[in-house]
């Protein structure tokens, strides 16, 4: 039962008093409870993460061992891999779909759909999202989008094969690839997914702006919420651009419009501008929530306040804002006016600064801390260290002359995987492990968590670090058979080694999957606050009831008051009322 606190009056999210009368379908399938929806996104995204991983295995098999039949590959149809040998057109589809599934159906929903949904209400003290039914619609649109995307594998002509970036006219003109229905399905799927994301985004923004509990002012918000807030704004503004561009592509392909097809008067570069105007904010969508959650976990693991909270917030905003002005750095070689290239180079160089601030602040956070190496902390530290590599490698390609050489090589592939996997995915593993007890009432097994972490960390670096070297030798990307080139033949041993490491990397994820599944019923039962964290959600039972807070909490301080001199414990929850006026004195003294 919730009291009607002033911040909630008149807003749609009234706690559901008679929840226990709802059917199983209403409670767990067509649920409007943000926590259930978050878990639904989690299960869906983990499934697509596996699909993306399987596709990566196909890629690495072919690149490492070109022309060799895949073991067991005989089951694949002749149009894809006759005798188990991947065909070049199928390889191009796999490369396309690996990127597409990972970006749109794994990482984005894992960060935004799962943690946006799950964390926002419980961390700001709200009973649910501002628009619970729209929230439900958002998930139930993502599911058919996923099915449509999977369906593309089964149509004549095969799946979309123009890269996840879908450059026109390769994507717009079916004559150039032999793919028509597959590309149409790709487009339709992403339009629906875009709508799902947009619905989610204004839900998040409205909830954070309007439904914070009393005392939860903006500068007491956890960084996870700040990052999800800025991310939601990016989603709201960027996804429509993608949808618009894809609609134009769809029309070019099906009804004879001329947006991008030069044979009928269109401009291929227009697609690139539109796509990357979305695409660059998109990559910040794919990293910011991870940064935010890592901040929460790192402060917790170090038992120390976040170093420079205000600068961290400004850095998040800076990344979000500056991210709109750098899209052309994906187009340095595109044939656009070179002066534009210089402009985008400067803006790209500048956007390194807020990310650097965050890295230094994370270091400042663990400096003189009292570091607990729980599994989420391991993943979050891996996140920082791998993100640093990804960020530094970005400086090479930001320099337009150097990009002349490394554009479209494995140097770029290395960079993007260091930020998306080394960065976002480690952050996701950490976040899932951290909030798992809150979601399911049980802890994931820490021993197997550590085994999974170590195996993943080692094999991840074995796979992606050598790619910097391949790229610096000029090894192109999206290449079905590198041995066709004399200058690449001497490097083929590196490809073999990367592929073998990749197989072990993929296999190691089954440890995480098994831990995830088995802990659901066999994990050690969790109390409300297994990590001694300060956030509002950790005062709730694990899992929290429908409507979350029996009594709307009042917030007295920020979320990172670890090792405060005001209490003997090394943590101090946001909603814990302390007697007297010690708080303001400590604030004045300790900063």
């Amino acid at each position: 039962m919730a009291t009607t606190a002033t911040t909630l009056d008149g807003i749609g999210a009234h706690p559901h008093v008679d929840a226990h009368h709802d059917s199983f379908v209403r409670r767990y399938i067509f649920s409007t409870d943000h926590k259930i929806i978050g878990i639904q996104f989690l299960l869906m995204s983990l499934f697509f993460l596996m699909i993306g991983g399987i596709l990566a295995m196909f890629i690495r098999w072919q690149v490492g061992f070109p022309g060799k039949p895949i073991p067991g590959g005989g089951v694949l149809p002749e149009t894809m891999a006759p005798g188990g040998i991947v065909l070049p057109e199928f390889y191009n589809s796999i490369v396309t779909m690996h990127g597409t599934f990972m970006v749109f159906f794994a990482i984005m929903p894992l960060l935004v759909g799962v943690f946006g949904n799950y964390l926002i209400p419980v961390k700001i003290g709200a009973p649910d999202m501002a628009f619970p039914r729209i929230n439900m619609a958002s998930f139930w649109m993502a599911v058919p989008a996923g099915f449509i995307m999977l369906a593309g594998f089964f149509v004549e002509g095969g799946h979309a094969a123009a890269g996840w970036t879908s450059y026109a006219p390769l994507s717009a003109n079916p004559e150039l690839t032999g793919v028509s229905t597959g590309q149409v399905l790709w487009s339709v799927s992403l339009i629906i997914l875009g709508l799902s994301s947009i619905l989610g985004s204004f839900n998040y923004i409205t909830t954070i702006v309007n439904m914070r509990a009393p005392g939860m002012n903006w500068f007491r918000l956890p960084l996870s919420i700040w990052s999800l807030f800025i991310t939601a704004i990016l989603v709201l503004l960027a996804m429509p651009v993608l949808s618009g561009a894809i609609i134009m592509l769809l029309f070019d392909q099906t009804i004879g419009t001329h947006f991008f097809r030069p044979d009928t008067g269109g401009q291929p570069l227009l697609w690139q501008h539109l796509f990357w105007f979305f695409g660059h904010p998109e990559v910040y969508i794919l990293i910011l929530p991870g940064m935010g959650m890592a901040s929460d976990i790192i402060a917790n693991g170090a038992r120390k306040p976040i170093f420079g909270y205000t600068s961290m917030v400004i850095a998040i905003m800076g990344i979000g804002f500056l991210g709109w002005g750098v899209w052309g750095h994906h187009m340095f070689m595109s044939g656009m006016n070179p002066t534009l290239g210089t402009g985008f180079m400067i803006s790209t160089m500048l956007i390194a600064v807020p990310s650097a601030i965050k890295v230094f602040n994370w270091m400042g956070t663990i400096w003189r801390g009292n570091i607990q190496f729980h599994v989420p902390m391991l993943h979050s530290m891996a996140f920082v260290s791998m993100f640093v590599i990804g960020g530094l490698s970005g400086l090479f390609m930001a320099s337009t002359p150097v990009d002349i050489f490394i554009h479209d090589t494995y140097f770029i592939v290395a960079h993007l995987h260091y930020v998306l996997f080394g960065g976002s995915l480690f952050a996701i593993f950490g976040a899932i492990t951290y909030w798992y007890p809150k979601m399911f009432g049980r802890l994931m097994n820490p021993f197997w968590g550590k085994v999974h972490f170590i195996l993943t960390m080692i094999t991840f670096n074995l796979v992606f670090f050598p790619m910097h070297s391949l790229g610096s030798q000029g090894h192109m990307r999206r290449i079905y058979d590198p041995t066709q080139y004399e200058f690449l033949r001497d490097l083929q041993w590196v490809n073999e080694m990367i592929s073998m490491a990749a197989f072990v990397l993929f296999a190691s994820q089954f440890i995480f999957a098994a831990n995830f599944i088995l802990s659901w019923t066999k994990g050690e039962r969790a109390g409300p606050n297994p990590w001694n964290d300060n956030g509002l959600e950790w005062s709730l039972p694990s899992p929290p009831p429908h409507g979350n807070f029996a009594v709307t909490p009042t917030v007295y301080r920020g979320p990172y008051e670890y090792s405060s001199p005001l209490v003997t414990e090394d943590f101090l929850p946001q909603d814990l009322k302390l007697e007297g006026n010690r708080e303001s004195a400590a604030h004045a003294a300790g900063h």
Binding site: G67, E78, T79, P82, I85, L87, P88, E89, E175, T177, G178, Y480, D481
Partner: protein
């Protein structure tokens, strides 16, 4: 139930009859590399149209093919490889596709042979370069080169395809469902590679051999419009009347442009 049987039984009967006929007269797929000089299957009648396609004037020199960057194919050619646009021997023209354009009994359907027509890629050239196939008949495409070829069909009436064969020895089959003369085939990895396939819904077609000879057999008596098509010289049509079981000789002449 009874209505279903009434529909199904005659259908089976027709299929059975057609099947028997085609078993009896197996036209046989042309040998790899050879154009199909004769009709693929013996059909209703016993008449035939045969002759020689002649070429008058000086044949233009076939263009050189620059195979310098495709060593595996270049080594299969002794001397400078050329693109055989004109196959002229002693005034006779090969690779001319000759077929019955009209004049067959309306509404008659013909069954395609079960054996495929083989299209090979050898020395980075299509063999045969010009050939005919029936609707629904399989074309077996083979790669006899240790290099990537793709086979792109660019038809107007039919559904096209674009398939790759990255390794030597690969075989893929495709069919065309609709009549179309002719469907161009091309390789994009080797832009000089071209082939043309005439797709017909009847078996009355042939491609002239290197010596210019062709034969269309098994025709019922009648008056037919026959067309001869060459990739560079265009098409010529003529009226040919055959009596039952008559072996008519009909030469066709193309002149240099």
């Amino acid at each position: 139930m009874r209505r279903m049987l009434l529909a199904v039984v005659p259908a089976f009967a027709m299929l059975a009859c057609g099947g028997a006929k085609e078993d009896a007269a197996e036209g046989g797929a042309p040998e790899q590399g050879e154009p199909a000089a004769t009709t693929p299957q013996a059909a209703e009648g016993g008449a035939s149209i045969s002759g020689t396609v002649k070429f008058t004037g000086t044949a233009p020199a076939n263009p050189n093919i620059d195979m310098n960057e495709e060593a595996a194919c270049k080594s299969k050619h002794s001397g400078q490889p050329t693109d055989p646009e004109f196959v002229v021997n002693n005034g006779n023209l090969g690779n001319v596709f000759v077929y019955v354009k009209s004049g067959l009994a309306a509404g008659k359907t013909y069954t395609a042979p079960t054996s495929p027509v083989v299209l090979d890629q050898d020395g980075c050239l299509y063999k045969p370069r010009v050939f005919g196939v029936m609707t629904g008949q399989q074309i077996e495409i083979r790669n006899s080169d240790p290099v990537l070829h793709n086979i792109k069909a660019v038809p107007k009436e039919n559904r096209g395809f674009n398939i790759s064969q990255p390794t030597e020895g690969m075989k893929t089959t495709r069919t065309f469902a609709m009549r179309e003369v002719v469907v161009p085939l091309e390789c994009n990895v080797h832009s000089w590679m071209n082939a043309w396939v005439g797709v017909l819904d009847h078996p009355y077609f042939a491609t002239s051999s290197n010596d210019g000879s062709f034969k269309i057999s098994g025709l019922p008596a009648g008056t037919y419009e026959v067309e001869a098509w060459h990739e560079k010289l265009g098409a010529k049509t003529m009226q040919v009347t055959v009596a039952a079981d008559e072996g008519k000789t009909q030469d066709i002449t193309f002149a240099a442009k």
